[in-house]
Symmetry: C2
Subunit: 219 residues, 2 copies
């Protein structure tokens, strides 16, 4: 069979093919890496015009990662999709608590979604971190609430729950309230793969994907 066996060659060619679909958008070079990888992860060029980032959000995310920030996810699929070698090379860790028995107990006691209880449980650990929500609108709403009401200060919220109920509204709230730097996607589209690809794109501005021998500027 005639196909490209080298994953890196596949990826580079993909990025070239995606380029024309975002060339009409006014983006910084760092934003281009994020947009491209999110389109790459969805196979859907429509993302180019659906992604919304607050001014400087991509740069804020990269800066936080360069400083070794942690990442807090709503679901284990986002955690699974994040390049842990790259994150570890930068000094960060990734956390997800939605499947913890303790969270299930709290959620039941308070009669709230587990995703919401899990987000809430991170508390002030979220300061300076990246919050990555790929599935649960309730987790995103809770993150927004914690910024607005509890004074939590994440470096960046990547909030891209997917679906037809709650998801679009939760993302619209993120854009309207803009509680802190954010990256999102308007409408129903999104999900864990997209969020993980966004986190990875931010990191690949700092570390080489394949070999983690150096961190840019820290060689």
């Amino acid at each position: 069979m005639d196909f490209i066996k080298n994953p890196r060659a596949i990826e580079e060619k993909s990025m070239d093919l995606i380029d024309p679909f975002i060339s009409d958008i006014d983006l910084t070079p760092e934003e281009v890496t994020v947009y491209s990888r999110m389109i790459h992860a969805s196979g859907d060029v429509d993302y180019g015009h659906l992604i919304r980032t607050s001014e400087g959000a991509v740069e804020a995310g990269i800066k936080a990662l360069a400083g070794g920030c942690n990442i807090y996810c709503d679901v284990n699929m986002v955690k699974a999709g994040i390049n842990k070698r790259a994150l570890s090379a930068l000094g960060g860790e990734v956390f997800c608590r939605v499947a913890d028995p303790e969270i299930a107990r709290i959620a039941k006691e308070k009669n709230i979604a587990r995703s919401m209880a899990a987000m809430n449980s991170f508390g002030t650990d979220l300061n300076g971190s990246i919050i990555a929500v790929g599935n649960a609108p309730t987790a995103l709403y809770e993150a927004i609430r914690m910024v607005e009401e509890d004074g939590i200060r994440p470096a960046l919220i990547i909030g891209i729950p997917v679906g037809f109920v709650g998801a679009a509204d939760s993302k619209e709230q993120l854009v309207r309230r803009a509680p802190c730097p954010y990256i999102t996607v308007r409408g129903t589209k999104g999900g864990s793969s997209i969020v993980a690809s966004c986190v990875n794109a931010l990191m690949y501005n700092l570390v080489k994907r394949d070999n983690m021998l150096y961190v840019q500027g820290k060689k």
Copy 2:
């Protein structure tokens, strides 16, 4: 904030909203569950007309799962997205070897992609199983080759790599060659979330999502 806090209520409402977008397609009730959940996982109603299943593929997958079949994935994100409680209630397990050091060694030695080496390493364990490919065209090509050349007999291939190079062609090959029952998506779209949602949809025909107290027909 005014939103639905019950994830199950959100999901049921989602399925109702998705229904009009697939009502023009001639589907069995089981196929409806699969199509709906794949649209739910992508937030993209275009999937309705992009999904391709071979005749009886959905039923073949359900039957295999009812018999306790295992699931073999190309990447850990697919594994992370599969409902393990449901799978375990049915008697199956999920495997992914792409991150194994032994696979890395073999891939390097043979100068092939790790995804390909990982798929190949499953060998005859794939007989009667469900192969779930969400990321790597090379894994899907290898699975097709193993059926055609090595006489491997999976119950179902869910082959939905995402992307702009290799992915669309690998899925087109799956449709044209139809080496065994298959579920795929034409074009560039797809990915791990979509594949995991497809596996889960098949299982939810047999087990209740939330409580695994019974397997349908085996109460």
